[in-house]
């Protein structure tokens, strides 16, 4: 029986999956706005350029934003890796055929927040398409080298897994362009390859820096017996360790390079008990210690780049905490000039144009910089929106603002819409350091931001002034333990409640001026995980990144302010029902449904519909476990059900329940954004102008605008405007062939924001949301034949406008400009007349929408409503404006009719051009008509820089003014209508006079109807 049920279940599951039509493609027409910004950009991990292109074409790899390509030296960038893993470790270009590009996924700057890759990729068409070519379990890749004489031979340096033992490390080689791989150098399952060099003059000579390293959630260790510097003289077949002149082992990470113009000249920064810079002049056989600054040798695990000028072996660059250069082969270093402004610290990539070596690109924690003076001064590239947000929040202003903190780039605020769209200049800094939670206060004037290790401030938004508000320990309490990414949140039920968590939970009701501790230690308080001062390995490194046994998430129930959930970084999930007097730990109940016991509680979502229901996401990647853990409890944590799906990738960061449809959930993971419309049974990956493997760290839903707001750790902020169509989609709809969604009331205005001026060049820019709701409809299948038209009718059943419809499968969205059909424009002008694209905005009232799909008509109604918020245009004035606009449109039509009449007679006169040239009467008639035409419209000036304003141009201008008017018309505008009508009367009388005069003298023209 059991076996039978198993088979039935297998079939049922398959059928459910097969039959569920809901997937991302269905919503493809709903595209996110990528807010970026490029203002502070984000961590850059690799830069490579095409040699034969004057340094204009470069590929940029990022910590969490994929690969970007610029073909214009950084003026603009295009994302070319949106379908793949977003963490990038290395890039290599086949310079003999630059269409071939390799990308190694998985950054190798082994910080606590570094993401994970899933192998090697290859493009054969300059980055348009990518194919995965193996090393899937490598997790981190630090270097790719293409053999200069045989481009099918590729070497890859794989440091390998950061958080666990792994055999997938070392040096790999492919001899067939990535079709198959061979591991050619391996030390052990704790030691990988951090750097790989090839002598360009003799490609059989190679160097590998092997690195033993390991992170745990509460400590980092760089160094061990596995680390060492190795040389091969047979193309990687055999390797020999080099020690002569180097410090005593054990080593940590070694950064090294050679001079391409004189490969025997080498430099290495060796992490050891006496970390330092070492120089070799004999191809690495012997080394000599060289004194070096702190900047040159600091943080070896994070700063692993040293580059020698391709033409000048004495010119050495060390991008690290700061940018330093040497002109004497590394004997002395100078830091780059600050002329022109600050260059972001923490540098990881440098590409020098080998042809013009004064030109170079630098990758930092805050984007790409370009230098054209050998690194002395730098210019920021503003168009790379690869910021690594940890969290996002919003306020209730109109338009609302988003708030968030980023890796090494502080905390920021920006409007969700701005005149002309959201550019880099719309972002305002509200916090420093590494930014994390950034929360607006309900007062609309204040925000809270923080930097690493629980340093938190209250920010006065109007001035930017900040006040430190971190709670301090009392003499009776243990040292407070603050997470790197300490939670500071306001209450979902009572937004005046402000919470922060160390190992204890604190609450303030006065904006952090006073705090009350409302819990005991909610963590496991495991003392073995609290030895952060010993962290770092050979180099001490204790920056609060490894702080542990701390509170990591706090969530007040949106239904009850006394119900508060807390999750910790060491596996505890606790709640209180009495505002903190008593706490219940339910982590073991969660473990029963398959959640790893020590997993971080990455998000808690108490339901908006039922106080006993909670969704929780967990993540355990710091123990080498990449599973997606999400669980739901409907009995206040007594039992949990795991929500899982085969489509999930990446460890979970955030589970979010919709505010209206309790079956609609969103999940953000390290590798994707997912949604379900059936409470978690079927999930699909969101691809709505968002990278398929986006590092989705945080998700919010705005209650007023219904926008989905996503914070990504590598691609900035995404906003999917107005998700009501997704929210309202259900089986009753997707079972139908065609379904028309109810159009919300449309408020009649020209939008809430003005033009804003032209977009600033060289920056990142995101558009605004649509000013008005679209007409939304659903097609079960794409319409392969026939056409779709939408027609809008007023309450008198008069056609207002006909609009072509789209035919895609799933949700279609078609915009209407709220106007009727523009007037026809008579031919003959030398310049374009804008009236031909302009019509008055419709009046408030009930309208009918007809969706015509071939021969079927789907009818619905909707309302256009007066904009009561605009006090400049009361309803009576709106009606007056409309009436006048229509009056001017009639005048415009009359003018065009007169022009048509003239055109008609002129075409008759010239229908036989030979005869015309011989007839004086015909020529006189034509000439007089032409004169009147010249009064009716401009017909002589052809240049767009030479104005020629005649009657039609004047009418057209006034018509446009009234069509777009959003305040009561002034007296001169009203009088102008009468003046123009009078002008027309005079000219039209002249036209009739000319025709009456000349027609009898031109008996060849029989047609006289136009006179009538």
């Amino acid at each position: 029986m059991k076996k039978y049920l198993y088979l039935v279940s297998l079939f049922t599951t398959y059928n459910l999956l097969a039959q569920s039509p809901v997937n991302s493609a269905m919503f493809g027409t709903m595209e996110t706005r990528q807010l970026g910004p490029g203002t502070m950009s984000g961590r850059i991990t690799a830069i490579e350029g095409v040699l034969n292109d004057e340094g204009k074409t470069i590929y940029v790899g990022t910590g969490g934003g994929g690969v970007w390509k610029s073909s214009n030296a950084g003026t603009s960038y295009k994302s070319v890796f949106d379908k793949h893993c977003q963490s990038i470790g290395a890039i290599a270009i086949n310079q003999k055929n630059p269409a071939i590009v390799y990308v190694g996924s998985g950054e190798s700057n082994m910080r606590n927040s570094v993401s994970i890759g899933d192998g090697m990729y290859k493009s054969t068409d300059g980055g348009d398409n990518w194919k995965k070519i193996g090393l899937d379990s490598s997790e981190h890749i630090s270097r790719i080298i293409i053999h200069p004489n045989n481009p099918d031979v590729i070497y890859v340096a794989v440091p390998g897994a950061l958080w666990s033992d792994s055999k997938h490390r070392g040096v790999y080689k492919s001899s067939n362009g990535g079709q198959s791989w061979e591991k050619i150098f391996y030390i052990d399952d704790k030691t990988g390859c951090a750097e790989l060099l090839m002598d360009p003059s003799n490609p059989d000579i190679m160097f590998a820096s092997m690195w033993q390293f390991r992170r745990q959630p509460f400590s980092f260790n760089s160094g061990g017996n596995g680390s060492g510097l190795y040389k091969s003289v047979d193309g990687g077949k055999t390797w020999r360790e080099i020690k002569n002149g180097l410090p005593a082992k054990p080593f940590g990470r070694i950064a090294m390079n050679l001079a391409p113009s004189d490969p025997k000249q080498m430099l290495a920064i060796v992490e050891s008990k006496q970390s330092g810079l070492y120089i070799s002049s004999d191809g690495g056989e012997t080394w000599k210690s060289q004194s070096a600054t702190m900047n040159t040798c600091a943080r070896p695990f994070y700063f692993s780049t040293i580059v020698v000028d391709p033409k000048d072996s004495k010119r050495v660059y060390r991008p690290a905490f700061q940018f330093a250069y040497s002109s004497d082969g590394g004997y002395s270093f100078t830091e780059a000039s600050s002329e022109g402004g600050w260059v972001h610290s923490d540098m990881h990539a440098l590409w020098i144009n080998p042809v013009h070596t004064n030109m170079m690109y630098l990758g930092t924690d805050g984007g790409v910089y370009t230098s054209i003076d050998k690194g002395v001064t730098w210019r920021f590239n503003h168009a790379l929106p690869v910021g690594q947000f940890y969290h996002v929040a919003f306020d209730m202003q109109e338009p609302y603002n988003v708030y968030g903190g980023l890796q090494d780039n502080g905390s920021w605020k920006a409007p969700s819409a701005a005149p002309g769209g959201i550019g880099n200049g719309n972002w305002t800094r509200v916090g420093g350091g590494d930014g994390f939670w950034t929360i607006p206060d309900v007062d609309g004037k204040t925000a809270y931001s923080e930097y690493q290790g629980g340093n938190m401030v209250r920010v006065e938004l109007s001035t930017g002034k900040m006040e430190n508000i971190q709670p301090q320990k009392t003499s009776q309490e243990e040292k407070l333990r603050w997470n790197w990414n300490t939670p500071i949140v306001t209450g979902a039920k009572n937004p005046k409640n402000l919470y922060v968590g160390a190992q204890y939970l604190y609450k303030s009701n006065d904006q952090g001026r006073n705090w009350k501790r409302i819990s005991g230690d909610l963590t496991t308080n495991d003392k073995n995980k609290q030895k952060q001062e010993e962290s770092g390995g050979l180099s001490e490194d204790n920056t609060s990144a490894e702080n542990h046994c701390t509170i990591f998430n706090i969530a007040e129930s949106p239904l009850d302010e006394n119900t508060i959930w807390v999750g910790t970084d060491d596996g505890n999930l606790q709640f209180t029902l009495d505002g903190g007097k008593t706490w219940t730990n339910v982590s073991m109940n969660a473990a029963k449904c398959g959640i790893a016991k020590q997993a971080w509680v990455s998000s808690i979502e108490p339901s908006h519909f039922d106080k006993n229901t909670v969704y929780v996401s967990f993540e355990n990647h710091m123990y080498g476990d990449h599973q997606t853990y999400v669980a739901k409890s409907i009995d206040m944590g007594k039992t949990f059900t795991r929500l899982n799906h085969k489509i999930f990738t990446g460890f979970a960061h955030k589970i979010k329940e919709d505010l209206v449809n309790k079956e609609l959930l969103f999940l953000g993971t390290e590798m994707g954004l997912f949604a379900t419309l059936d409470g978690g049974i079927n999930w699909f990956r969101m691809k709505n102008n968002i990278p398929e493997y986006v590092l989705a760290r945080d998700i919010q839903i705005h209650p007023k605008t219904h926008d989905l707001i996503v914070a990504s750790h590598g691609r900035g902020i995404f906003i999917l405007d107005d998700i009501r169509t997704i929210r309202n989609l259900n089986k009753d709809i997707w079972d139908k062939d065609v379904y028309v969604f109810q159009t919300p009331d449309i408020i009649l205005n020209n939008g809430k924001l003005g033009w804003g001026g032209p977009e600033v060049s060289g920056g990142w820019w995101a558009g605004n949301p649509s000013d008005h709701p679209s007409f939304d409809y659903f097609f079960k299948q794409r319409l392969n034949s026939g056409k779709v038209t939408l027609e809008v009718y007023d309450d008198k059943e008069k056609l207002v406008q006909s609009i072509p419809g789209t035919i895609r499968r799933g949700i279609n969205k078609v915009s209407w400009n709220l106007r009727s059909t523009p007037p026809r424009v008579a031919e003959g002008a030398k310049k374009m007349d804008g009236a031909g694209f302009t019509a008055p905005m419709v009046l408030p009232g009930k309208y009918t929408l007809k969706l015509i799909v071939n021969d079927k008509v789907y009818t619905s109604t909707f309302n256009c409503v007066h904009d009561t918020a605009n006090k400049d245009l009361p309803l009576e004035q709106r009606k007056l404006v409309y009436e006048k606009a229509m009056a001017i449109q009639q005048l415009y039509n009359k003018v065009n009719k007169s022009i048509d009449t003239i055109n008609y007679y002129q075409s008759l006169l010239k229908s036989d051009s030979v005869a015309y040239a011989k007839r004086k009467n015909a020529i006189a008639f034509f000439t007089d008509l032409e004169k009147q035409k010249g009064e009716l419209m401009g017909i002589t000036k052809t240049s767009i820089f030479a104005d020629e304003k005649r009657l039609r141009e004047k009418v057209s201008e006034l018509y446009s003014t009234f069509c777009y008017m959003e305040s009561a018309p002034n007296q001169t505008q009203l009088e102008s209508i009468t003046d123009l009508e009078n002008d027309y009367s005079k000219i039209s009388a002249e036209v009739i006079k000319v025709i009456t005069k000349h027609l009898p003298k031109n008996p060849e023209i029989k047609e006289k109807k136009r006179l009538d």
Binding site: K3, Y4, Y6, L7, L10, F11, Y14, S24, A25, M26, G28, T29, S71, T124, D125, D128, N129, K687, R782, L783, N784, S785, G786, K787, Q801, S802, I803, P804, T806, I807, R808, R809, G810, N817, R819, S820, T821, P822, V825, A826, E827, G828, A829, K830, K831, M832, D833, G834, G836, F837, T838, A839, T942, S943, I944, F945
Partner: protein, 237 residues
């Protein structure tokens, strides 16, 4: 044991059905595509074509009138707010005159643009001639276009113009083409979507609708193998 085998067989069937589409041979896709658009013979009979179409913008109509004569020339007239602009391509030269763009006289096309335009004078659908024209094609699997998973095929011509075709696996019609053109040091990319395919009396199948992303151009009249006055391909001003 029997149940396990059944389950295994079932999984295998699912796997096979899921990879079946991707295993589609490129030649087979092209053969089916050519058959779907009416077959090579019918296309080879095409000597000239005259179309009229219209596009809506803010409720206003923009009218297009196009004429093409095989291996001789093409002319497109655009009637926009009472003004007419046009472009002409022949083997001897190409010109355009768009008064709304500030042009006061016909302007010659750049050599790069003309070279690419002349390639199209044979009036043959691209997959009918790519081999003869020395174009290369590559298959890049499936990709979503407006909710439809399509075959993605990239074609590169001798001028390094790249065109990516997205072919609907149900109908074998092209529903999107993305072209990347490098010209005068610039790289421009644009996409056109096609729908409402109709079979003409002559046997060829043509899209009656194309969309460039902001508005749809609908063919309202189409005539094939009509007589065309050569004067139409002479620039008038």
């Amino acid at each position: 044991m029997k149940i396990k085998k059944l389950a295994w067989l079932f999984s295998l069937l699912i796997l096979m059905s899921s990879i079946g589409g991707n295993a589609q041979n490129l030649d087979e896709i092209i053969t089916k595509h050519i058959s779907a658009i009416g077959g090579k013979d019918n296309w080879n009979k095409l000597k000239s074509m005259r179309t009229e179409s219209s596009m809506k913008s803010n409720g206003a109509d923009i009218v297009f009138k196009s004429i093409a004569v095989k291996d001789k020339g093409t002319r497109s007239d655009i009637i926009l707010m009472g003004m007419t602009g046009w472009s002409i391509v022949t083997k001897e030269g190409g010109w355009s005159m768009y008064p709304w763009a500030g042009q006061t006289k016909a302007e010659a096309m750049t050599a790069d643009d003309l070279k690419m335009a002349i390639e199209e004078l044979d009036m043959l659908e691209d997959f009918l001639t790519y081999k003869e024209k020395g174009k290369s094609i590559d298959f890049y699997g499936m990709e979503d276009v407006d909710g439809t998973e399509c075959y993605k095929i990239k074609m590169i011509d001798k001028n390094q113009k790249e065109s990516t075709y997205f072919i609907d696996p149900d109908t074998y019609m092209t529903i999107k083409i993305t072209s990347k053109v490098k010209s005068n040091g610039q790289e421009n990319e644009y996409s056109t979507f096609f729908s409402n395919y109709e079979k003409l009396p002559e046997g060829i199948v043509m899209p009656m609708s194309s969309t460039n992303g902001w508005s749809e151009n609908r063919i309202t009249k189409i005539e094939v193998n009509v007589a065309v006055d050569d004067k139409l391909f002479v620039p008038t001003k």
